[in-house]
Symmetry: C2
Subunit: 238 residues, 2 copies
Amino acid sequence: MPRDGGAGAPGVDPQQLWLTPVQPRRGRRPAYSREAITAAAVTLADTEGLEAVTMRKVAARVGAGVMSLYSYAPDKETLLNLMVDHVSGELPTANTLTGDWRADLKVIAHLQRALMLRHPWLPAALSTRRVPGPNTLAFLEHALAALRPTGLDGTAKLEIFAQLTAFVAGHVAHEIAQAAASQAPDRAAVEARYLAAVAADGRHPELAEVLSAPGRPLTPEATFTRFLNRLIDGLDTG
Amino acid sequence: MPRDGGAGAPGVDPQQLWLTPVQPRRGRRPAYSREAITAAAVTLADTEGLEAVTMRKVAARVGAGVMSLYSYAPDKETLLNLMVDHVSGELPTANTLTGDWRADLKVIAHLQRALMLRHPWLPAALSTRRVPGPNTLAFLEHALAALRPTGLDGTAKLEIFAQLTAFVAGHVAHEIAQAAASQAPDRAAVEARYLAAVAADGRHPELAEVLSAPGRPLTPEATFTRFLNRLIDGLDTG
DNA sequence: CTACATTTCCGTACGATGTACGAGAATAGA
DNA sequence: TCTATTCTCGTACATCGTACGGAAATGTAG
């Protein structure tokens, strides 16, 4: 194996993956790079979905043999972690904090949502990731700085960040699923008919009423903002 | 195929799966049942994890040939949906509503959390499920009844329930991951060392402080309750 | 009872996947 | 030039979901 090591899931030391600088150059020179491989995997996931990210397809896109990938990542799980950290690099961490931690946190959540909408596979991939990479850690650092005015202890800050991320991921996953349903009208119609049939059986009066009085459909953006504000405004520093 | 039809993911009509009563008995009598197969898959997931749920292992546990399963569920995705709805049957929906919708919602969330702790694969499986089965719908009906005093419109109620479920799933997934980390002290130690190394590089002062002042560790239960209360108390009926 | 239609059971087989293995090629230092 | 090191990647294998189709069991029609 070249100068990486491995990381993420199984029995691999994260230090060896994320913070090995550059090892002494010996032997054959690498023909590809972890960066290029990760980027190829990301574009593959962006365009064809996460399930299209197979070692063979990634290798084909890079122009490498399948097994060559294993010189840059010890297994697929690690490659997924690399992908997550790769796109996390798109998150800006410039010092734009206002000192109003609630407002700052809302901006952070909106940044996360935008990232996840740009990479719809991200919510699903997040649930498996183990060890945060440098980009993820940079953003975490940013979020912790935003939370500084709360005066909360470390554990509490970390928990808030984890919950916020999980909330955003959950919401975006839901958003994406609904958007996909709109794009497949047949399936949506079938589901609607099914729910209508259930509601018509008389044993689901609340469901029946809900379906008959849906209310005005809001934009996903508005719904997100509303829930986000509720969640964050509900936080206190006690 | 026997008297099911299919459901859930791809191009299968949910009506045909969930609400077909019993078809006229003709031909060979089924040797197994959808119930038994689903139950076997659930215990398999409970004991060995979701990734251990393969058609072959489920069939072996039932005592059937592998392909016999396809007489009861058209594909694995459907079997996963059946599993989800199966365990959702453990959720009580007896009329225990108090009329205080916030309190009722909190009880509902605690029920969901308990269910997910009993079936740790549930949060992961939920992210893929498409069409709710009868047990899921019964619980949804229960939740909608709890939300009745809010006077919100249908869409809003459904969104609150979806968000609540996503929140619980996210939290429990995090809980489970942390519990697993505690059970593998080697890996946890490696991760801790990695984070310490990152914190020591001088470019992550907030992380360094957080790691040095972690605060008192709360029970997962307490953390869950705290976040839940914040979320629900933050909801309003405007 | 005999045919036949229907439904279930399941052995075999196929394509796809992740990845272990190891032979060969390229490079750096001796 | 020799040797140690590192990367490349073809082959091979276990495992997965599941398509196919014949055998077996059951109901109905004659």
